[in-house]
């Protein structure tokens, strides 16, 4: 499939493939059709995490050039980060030279004035590190924003700035990469949804890196990610569920946060904060989420496995073949799928598949 190489000028005109697991039908639509497809009783949940300026070009011991990508802020003010070999955005990460082998206590320097010390190297991969920057608080965040760029994509026409990747409702900078399913959701559309009665509510989920090009590290993705479910969101979800409304997650990160939070915080969705290591895939029966608004994922991508929690393999195969034949665009700035159950009423949940990682 063809990637969209740059943000498009009219997000509302972007294509939306409506996949209906009830009837098995596929329907070509536009993002602007969402208010007509969703019902007033439905709730659309979005991830309001802003994208970190998480890609930092720097130097390791002996002046070895390297790149780090911030994965997540840790509770003790340090950061988890992935290490890459030298190279700019034009070189796919899997074709980069191997990064230097770092050890704890090694110091990294990011010009002009940011330094960090390696505090821990993960057992998952020597490329997964815990870093402590030498600045804290406002000084650290000022420097991160001055030096860092959002994670770049080699398929792009040119490098991206934060203006290209921040969503229309982004708040705290928790996301390692843009939670891209929310990218076409402009306020014109969100207000139209609300006008029809469909609630649009936020959560914050620290969406991680989509891939690193390193087999061991990619096999461990997604890493545990933190989430925050506001009271109003938990209430909106509960009210909709009680009335047979459907809960639609705008993106795989929202699905992971809602399902993970329900598991971590007592079985049903409540206002809570935490970290989830839930991996949703084939065989997982969702407890909260009835539908998924998502980018167009190729079968080789890890996100594709998550789609099996929302539709059968045969339907997903047909949807993929249709999207490819009809010229749907892929990747972060591409078109979208909406996989939506016909009813929010379903049998009581069964235990899901969860796993520990880290």
């Amino acid at each position: 499939m063809i990637p969209a190489r740059w943000p498009r000028e009219e997000p509302l005109r972007e294509r939306l493939l409506h996949v209906d697991p009830c009837s098995g039908s596929l329907r070509d639509a536009r993002i602007a059709d969402l208010p007509a497809i969703l019902r007033p009783s439905d709730v659309l949940v979005v991830n309001d995490a802003a994208t970190l300026p998480g890609s930092l070009q720097g130097l390791g011991p002996g002046g070895t050039p390297l790149e780090i990508r911030l994965v997540a802020a840790l509770p003790d003010d340090s950061f988890r980060a992935a290490l890459f070999g030298a190279g700019d955005w034009r070189i796919p990460t899997e074709r980069r030279a191997a990064p230097p082998l770092l050890r704890t206590s090694d110091e990294l320097h990011f010009a002009p004035d940011l330094r960090a010390t390696v505090e821990r190297i993960s057992e998952v991969s020597p490329r997964l590190l815990d870093l402590r920057f030498h600045d804290r608080g406002a000084a650290l965040w000022s420097r991160l924003y001055a030096i860092g760029r959002p994670v770049q994509y080699s398929y792009a026409r040119a490098p991206f700035e934060l203006w290209h990747v921040q969503l229309a409702y982004a708040s705290r900078p928790w996301a390692a990469e843009m939670p891209s399913a929310g990218r076409p959701l402009r306020w014109d559309l969100l207000l139209a949804l609300r006008q029809r009665g469909t609630k649009v509510v936020p959560l914050t989920h620290a969406a991680g890196l989509s891939s690193t090009g390193d087999a061991a590290l990619d096999a461990a993705l997604p890493l545990p990610e933190r989430f925050d479910i506001p009271q109003a969101t938990a209430q909106a979800v509960a009210a909709a569920r009680a009335e047979g409304g459907r809960i639609v997650a705008a993106g795989t990160s929202v699905a992971r946060a809602l399902e993970g939070a329900a598991l971590e915080c007592g079985g049903a969705l409540e206002a809570c904060s935490g970290e989830t290591d839930l991996v949703i895939g084939p065989g997982y029966r969702t407890k909260v989420v009835d539908g998924l608004l998502t980018g167009v994922h190729e079968k080789s991508q890890s996100h594709y496995a998550l789609l099996h929690a929302f539709a059968g393999g045969d339907l997903l195969e047909r949807a993929s073949a249709h999207a490819e034949a009809a010229g749907y665009l892929t990747h972060e700035f591409g078109d979208s799928w909406l996989i939506l159950q016909c009813s929010g009423l379903r049998p009581p949940p069964v235990a899901g598949k969860a796993r520990s990682s880290g």
């Binding site: 979005v46 309001d48 802003a50 300026p53 802020a73 608080g137 406002a138 965040w141 000022s142 991160l144 924003y145 001055a146 700035e161 934060l162 203006w163 921040q166 969503l167 229309a168 409702y169 982004a170 708040s171 705290r172 900078p173 306020w187 969100l190 207000l191 609300r194 006008q195 649009v200 509510v201 936020p202 506001p230 109003a232």
Partner: protein
Amino acid sequence: MKGKGVLITGGSKGLGAALAEELSGAGARVVLVARAEEELRKTVARIRDRGGEAHALPGDVSDKLQAHRIAGAAAALVGPIELLVHNASTLGPTPLRLLLDTECEDLEQVLQTNLVGPFRLTKIVAGAMALRGSGLVLHVSSDTAVAAYPRWGAYGVSKAALDHMNRIWALELAQTGVRFLSVDPGEMHAAAMPEADRAELAQPVRVARWIARLVAHGVESGSRIVVPGEAR
């Protein structure tokens, strides 16, 4: 205001600093932005000495590339921003000039700081407010927005446009729970007014106290409010 995230531009001195002190005293978590780094740090230190929470973000609101740095760093430091105060402003070159003598670049710079900068920051911050169903964006205006004074052309135009943008923001986001206000504090006792008679100027601390009370009470979104003479 207890625990709420507040972002104030032009926060190193005058009304911005006084508002920061007032709001942090009420328990707000305040992020201050200004170009003058040293003054900014002194203001933050003063607030912290009194037990308040404040953070200094040196920055220039007229620079598009700094907008995400300011909003993102602020949200990282104090959580979702619930009150955004657009207080930073520039008069342009002084002594003030007739429009015929105003350089095109000087007018552009005044608009960047006083109008486009606030637009960018609100564009970044207000979407999250609307999604959460609450928030307040406060524009610090001036009587030059409604009265035409010779030599105050660039500044007056920028403030008139800021007032109008305040009304349009309020209309467009009327059903979201986000409120927009424009406040004319009266001429302030601050270094930004080099040509004014200082004896007639308002005291930032008194005005800040009045605005803090205004923030706490429900005022119709889109309003333009003049701080009354007795409150200055």
